[in-house]
C-alpha cells in the first residue's frame, strides 16, 4: 500500500500510516459502525458515571409515587422523567445504574471467555493430533447445546446469582473463541516467518504466544465485540428468567421480569429496560461488524 514512500523521500520521510490510522480509515467508511461506536462510548460513559448522573439512588422508594408515568404523558411529573416502577423507584436512575451491570457483565464475561478460549485455542492449534481432536470434540459438545439452555442448566446447578450467571455465559461463549483461534493459528503456523522464528531459536511457548498469536488477533477482536452483546443479552435473559441478577439489583433483564405483571397497566416499566437492551446490543453489533470490515482483510471491500 505504501511501497513508494521509502524511495521518494530522501530527507524527511513522512511518518508512514501506522496500523492504527489505517484501521481508523477503513472503520470510518462504515457509517453504522461509527454510530455504534458513539452509542457504545455513551454507554461506557453512563456506566462509569452512573452515580453522578442519576438523580436518585436506584433503590430509593417514593411511596406516594408508585407507578407514576413518564414526565411527558398524563399524570407525569418532571421529578421522575421516565416515571417510577411498582415500588416507587425512579426508572431513570435504575436504568442508568443498569448500564453499569450490563457493562460489567460484558467485560467480565468476554474477558474470561476470550482468555480461556484463546489459550485453549492456541494450544489446540499447536497440539498433537490426539489432543487437538479431544479438545475440539469437547468444544463441539458444549456448542451442541442451545446456549441459553446450557447457561440455564449451569446456573441451576451453581445457584442463581449474577456471578454464577456470568460464569455460565462465559462457559457457553468460550468454544467460539477456541474454534476461531485454532483455525487462525493453524493457517498462520505454517507460514515461513514462524519457521524463521524457530530457526532464530524461539521456543515453543514464545512461538505460540509471541509470534503466532498477535497475527491471529483480528478475528478474535471481532468475536470479542460480538460476544459482548451476546453476553449482555444472555445476562438479561437469565435475569428475566430469575436466574441472573436478583432483585433489587437494577439489572435490565431483572427489571423486565419484575415489571412483567404491569405490562398492560404501565407500559413504561417494561418498555424502557427493553429499549436499553435493544439499543446497547444493536450498537455493539454494528460496531462489531465495522470492526470486522476494518480488521479482516478477507472481507475487506476493495
Amino acid at each position: 500500500m505504501s511501497d513508494a514512500t521509502s524511495d521518494t523521500t530522501a530527507y524527511r520521510p513522512p511518518a508512514p500510516p501506522g496500523p492504527l490510522r489505517d484501521f481508523w480509515n477503513s472503520f470510518r467508511e462504515n457509517r453504522g459502525a461509527v454510530i455504534g461506536l458513539f452509542v457504545f462510548a455513551l454507554f461506557l460513559f453512563i456506566a462509569i458515571f452512573a452515580p453522578l448522573l442519576a438523580p436518585y439512588s436506584p433503590s430509593e422508594q417514593f411511596r406516594e409515587h408508585l407507578l407514576q408515568p413518564p414526565a411527558w404523558s398524563e399524570g407525569g411529573n418532571w421529578r421522575f422523567p421516565l416515571g417510577t416502577d411498582p415500588l416507587g423507584r425512579d426508572m431513570l436512575s435504575r436504568l442508568l445504574h443498569g448500564a453499569r451491570y450490563s457493562f460489567f457483565i460484558g467485560v467480565v464475561v468476554v474477558g474470561v471467555a476470550s482468555f480461556f478460549g484463546v489459550t485453549i485455542g492456541v494450544i489446540a492449534g499447536f497440539a498433537p493430533r490426539w489432543l487437538d481432536t479431544l479438545i475440539m470434540r469437547v468444544m463441539d459438545i458444549v456448542l451442541s447445546f442451545p446456549s441459553l439452555l446450557m447457561a440455564l442448566v449451569l446456573v441451576a446447578i451453581l445457584g442463581p446469582s449474577l456471578i454464577n450467571a456470568m460464569i455460565a455465559i462465559a462457559i457457553v461463549l468460550q468454544p467460539h473463541f477456541v474454534r476461531l483461534t485454532r483455525a487462525a493459528v493453524m493457517s498462520e503456523r505454517t507460514k515461513d516467518y514462524v519457521t524463521a522464528a524457530r530457526v532464530a531459536g524461539a521456543g515453543r511457548l514464545r512461538i505460540m504466544f509471541r509470534t503466532v498469536l498477535p497475527n491471529c488477533l483480528a478475528p478474535i477482536i471481532v468475536q470479542a465485540a460480538l460476544s459482548f452483546s451476546t453476553a449482555v443479552l444472555d445476562a438479561a435473559a437469565l435475569g428475566f428468567l430469575g436466574m441472573g441478577a436478583q432483585p433489587p439489583t437494577p439489572e435490565w433483564g431483572t427489571m423486565l421480569a419484575e415489571a412483567r405483571e404491569f405490562i398492560l397497566r404501565a407500559w413504561w416499566v417494561v418498555t424502557f429496560p427493553g429499549l436499553c437492551i435493544l439499543i446497547t446490543v444493536l450498537a455493539i453489533n454494528l460496531m462489531g461488524d465495522g470492526l470486522r470490515d476494518a480488521l479482516d482483510p478477507k472481507l475487506k471491500r476493495s
Binding site: 500500500m1 505504501s2 511501497d3 514512500t5 521509502s6 520521510p13 508512514p16 496500523p19 507460514k191 515461513d192 516467518y193 519457521t195 524463521a196 522464528a197 524457530r198 530457526v199 532464530a200 531459536g201 524461539a202 514464545r206 509470534t211 498477535p214 497475527n215
Partner: protein, 330 residues
C-alpha cells in the same frame, strides 16, 4: 581449499503419511544426499519441483531431523534427534526463504525482527548493543536507517528479501541456506539480491547452500552443483563440469530446457516423455528409468550408485561428451 564447514553423508528424510483406512505410505522426500559445504563457496541444488530441494534445506537448517544419514557441522556431529537442542550449533546455520511476503512477521517492525535472534540466543548482549548491531546490519544489506521502525507491509519484495538476509546474518552464521531466494522477485531485483549475496559471501566467508530451479541463476552464482531427481542426487560436481559436460541423461535434459536469449543458436532440446512419478511410488531401479531414452533392463532393476571423484553421477549409461541427445532430439 579450506576445510569444509558442513559435511553431509547419506542424508535421508522420509515422511509417513496416511493413505486412508489405516494404511501408511512412506514418502522418500530425500534419499541419500552426500555433500560438503566450504566457507566462501556455493553449492547449488537444482531440480524440478518435488525433487526434495526444500526438504534438504529444512534438514540442513535443522528445522526437521533427518531420518537417516549423518551431518557434521564444524566437526560436531548432528544426531538424528538431539540436533536442535544445541543452540550454538543451530545458530551457525540460518536460512533465507523463497517468499519474502510470508517470511517476515507482519506484526513486528524490521528492528524487532532483526533483534529477535540476538535476544533469544545472546542474552548477554545489552539492548543498546543489540540495537546497534541491528542498525549496522541494516546498512550492510543496503537498507536505510529509517527503515528500522517500519513494518514489513511498507516494503517491496526486494527490500523484504534484504531484511530476510539481514535477519539470517544477525547471529554470524557460517552457513546460509538460500531456499530459492530470488525466484519470487522481479528479474531486475533478482540481480540486485544476487549481487548482495555474492558481496556478503566474500566479506563474511559464508558457505551457501543455494537451492534453485533457475539454471541461468545457478550458472552465474554457484561453485558446485548438485542435480536432484525424486529425492536423490543424480549428478554433482564443479559447476563447469556439470554445465559443459553433463553425464546424467536427466541433467542433460534439464540443461537443454534452459531458455536461451540467442534465437539463431540451434537448440538441441530434449523433450522428456511422461510425468514426474509420484514420490509415493518411486519407480524401481533408477528413478529416472521410465523417462530416460537410454534405459535398459539394468536400469529397471538396480539403482546405480553415485560414483566418481569430483564429478559424480549415478548412471549406468552416462552420456558421453559430444553425444547428441536422444533420438527424438531436435
Amino acid at each position: 581449499m579450506t576445510a569444509p564447514i558442513l559435511q553431509a553423508e547419506d542424508l535421508t528424510r522420509h515422511y509417513e503419511i496416511k493413505a486412508g483406512f489405516g494404511k501408511h505410505a512412506v514418502v522418500r522426500a530425500l534419499n541419500g544426499a552426500s555433500f560438503e559445504l566450504t566457507p566462501g563457496r556455493t553449492l547449488a541444488v537444482v531440480g524440478e519441483s518435488g525433487c526434495g530441494k526444500s526438504t534438504l534445506a529444512r534438514v540442513v537448517t535443522m528445522i526437521e531431523p533427518p531420518s537417516g544419514g549423518a551431518m557434521r557441522i564444524g566437526g560436531n556431529p548432528i544426531g538424528a534427534e538431539g540436533a536442535s537442542r544445541d543452540r550454538a550449533l543451530r545458530a551457525m546455520v540460518q536460512i533465507v526463504f523463497q517468499d519474502p511476503y510470508g517470511s517476515l512477521n507482519p506484526r513486528q517492525t524490521i528492528g524487532q525482527t532483526l533483534m529477535e535472534p540476538l535476544k533469544l540466543n545472546r542474552p548477554e548482549v545489552s539492548s543498546a548493543e543489540r540495537e546497534q548491531r541491528a542498525r549496522d546490519m541494516l546498512g550492510m544489506v543496503g537498507l536505510r536507517p529509517e527503515h528500522f521502525d517500519r513494518y514489513p507491509h511498507m516494503f517491496s519484495g526486494g527490500q523484504r528479501q534484504r531484511v530476510a538476509v539481514a535477519r539470517a546474518l544477525m547471529l554470524d552464521p557460517k552457513i546460509l541456506v538460500l531456499d530459492e531466494p530470488v525466484s519470487a522477485l522481479d528479474l531486475s531485483i533478482q540481480s540486485q539480491i544476487l549481487n548482495l549475496l555474492v558481496d556478503l559471501q566474500e566479506r563474511l566467508e559464508l558457505a551457501y547452500l543455494f537451492i534453485s530451479h533457475d539454471l541461468s541463476v545457478v550458472r552465474h552464482f554457484a561453485d558446485e552443483v548438485m542435480v536432484m531427481y525424486l529425492g536423490r542426487p543424480v549428478e554433482q560436481g564443479p559447476k563447469e563440469d556439470v554445465f559443459t559436460n553433463p553425464r546424467h541423461p536427466y541433467t542433460r535434459a534439464l540443461l537443454s530446457a534452459t531458455p536461451m536469449a540467442d534465437p539463431r543458436r540451434k537448440r538441441n532440446r530434449i523433450k522428456l516423455e511422461g510425468e514426474l512419478p509420484s514420490p509415493m511410488s518411486v519407480p524401481e531401479g533408477c528413478p529416472f528409468n521410465p523417462r530416460c531414452w537410454k534405459a535398459t533392463e539394468a536400469c529397471r532393476k538396480n539403482f546405480p550408485d553415485i560414483s566418481g571423484n569430483t564429478h559424480r553421477y549415478a548412471c549406468f549409461h552416462p552420456v558421453e561428451p559430444g553425444e547428441d541427445g536422444h533420438p527424438g532430439a531436435g
